[in-house]
Symmetry: C2
Subunit: 236 residues, 2 copies
């Protein structure tokens, strides 16, 4: 946790917040601050700054907040990701959140196991994992996550509007061009499930204007493909 993320409900005064949950436990056991120390804080979907420790007990910590900085710039990307299995989804949510993705569509695909859609991660833990990613990266802007359980209606009815005015890419190792060089161009990127999109799905993306790209002959797991592609596509 490189940033303590606060929400309105943490404030007991216009510029003072008290926290007593897992954030407090982390601060108490890892950061071990003293009264008068300054900790990095941010307001969820707001600015960043510092919190001066003004009270500290075994149960809670109080911080006087001064905001002075904007959060890091988001990546100009909309990511479409075939729903990964629950354990990987948790990590991927933290990854995309820490790397600055703000628009994520979790989509269905032939090789997505139906049971994944009923997982507790999808039902309840999306926001929780996104917040862990923000705290890691020092960001405050919560990504938007959309669930699209039906492939064809999504591709045909929604994708054209989502991907317009962007360069549209699908990560697919076969009959593909090398990944473009880093830029600040607006991108819509589709990444398939373990085992990849099936040919029909790739064709649907291609029909919607998506170019097939690859990042080498090695087949990466989603958890590595996501940071590799993001890092390759965007200038720092």
């Amino acid at each position: 946790m490189n940033l303590i993320l606060l929400t309105e409900t943490d404030f007991y005064h216009s510029n003072c917040a008290e926290i007593d949950d897992r954030r407090f436990v982390h601060i108490k056991t890892i950061q071990k601050p003293l009264i008068g120390d300054f900790l990095k804080v941010g307001i969820l979907n707001g600015d960043k700054g510092v919190g001066e420790v003004i009270a500290l007990s075994d149960q809670a910590i109080s911080l006087r907040i001064t905001l002075s900085e904007k959060p890091p710039e988001p990546l100009p990307i909309t990511l479409l990701l075939a729903l990964p299995r629950p354990k990987m989804l948790k990590r991927v949510l933290q990854t995309i959140s820490s790397m600055g993705v703000k628009e994520l569509y979790l989509i269905n695909s032939y090789r997505v196991d139906k049971s994944f859609w009923g997982s507790p991660v999808v039902e309840k833990q999306i926001k929780e994992n996104l917040i862990l990613g923000l705290e890691q990266a020092g960001d405050t802007q919560l990504p938007n996550v959309y669930l699209k359980k039906r492939f064809k209606p999504f591709i045909e009815d929604e994708l054209p509007a989502i991907s317009q005015n962007s360069r549209s890419l699908i990560a697919h190792p076969y009959e593909a061009a090398p990944c473009p060089t880093p830029s600040r161009e607006q991108i819509t990127l589709a990444i398939g499930p373990e085992g990849g999109f099936i040919p029909y799905e790739v064709e649907k993306f291609n029909q919607c204007g998506f170019e097939s790209i690859h990042i080498g002959e090695r087949i990466l797991r989603v958890e590595n493909a996501v940071p590799s592609l993001l890092s390759r596509l965007f200038e720092i």
Copy 2:
């Protein structure tokens, strides 16, 4: 598992192998081949090719092996990584192995918890996790992993020889230049622990010719920093 990795002990005849362990369970439950089907195989530290299914029971599968391809090119990198905590180490070993790193030094640092060195992953599971990465990526060349439990003697006595004839970089977000653009240049790259290398350690690396580089203001976890840096540094 995108490649079945075989070793000498799997062969009962010069070109026929029988397997009955976790690889067999994976093949049986996921790939579900029939007699006469061809599966992708590779020889550990050798070539790749196909295995024709010539016998299949509830206990084992036999394959007739034909080798025809070289494994993918390794990345021209030597990676120095502050020993991560055990759970992350497992994933990082799989990541570096799947992405083509062949030389990995796990090193000590002030912020590496001493208990990590006694973890079962360090003691026994390094090879196992490297092999999982090779199977994922379709590679056969096992990376070399070296354990360096003492920071100063390693940096002073061993690092100059390791990093000579390479561009030497340390990923460090402060007073750093942007990460170089993708190339095929030989690189030695040092990545710190959670919380980063301490100033003394960065200074030791800098004295040894390592340039400080960053990949943006966001602070990434090691599991994301590794694929992001590898993908950014090397051409496909």
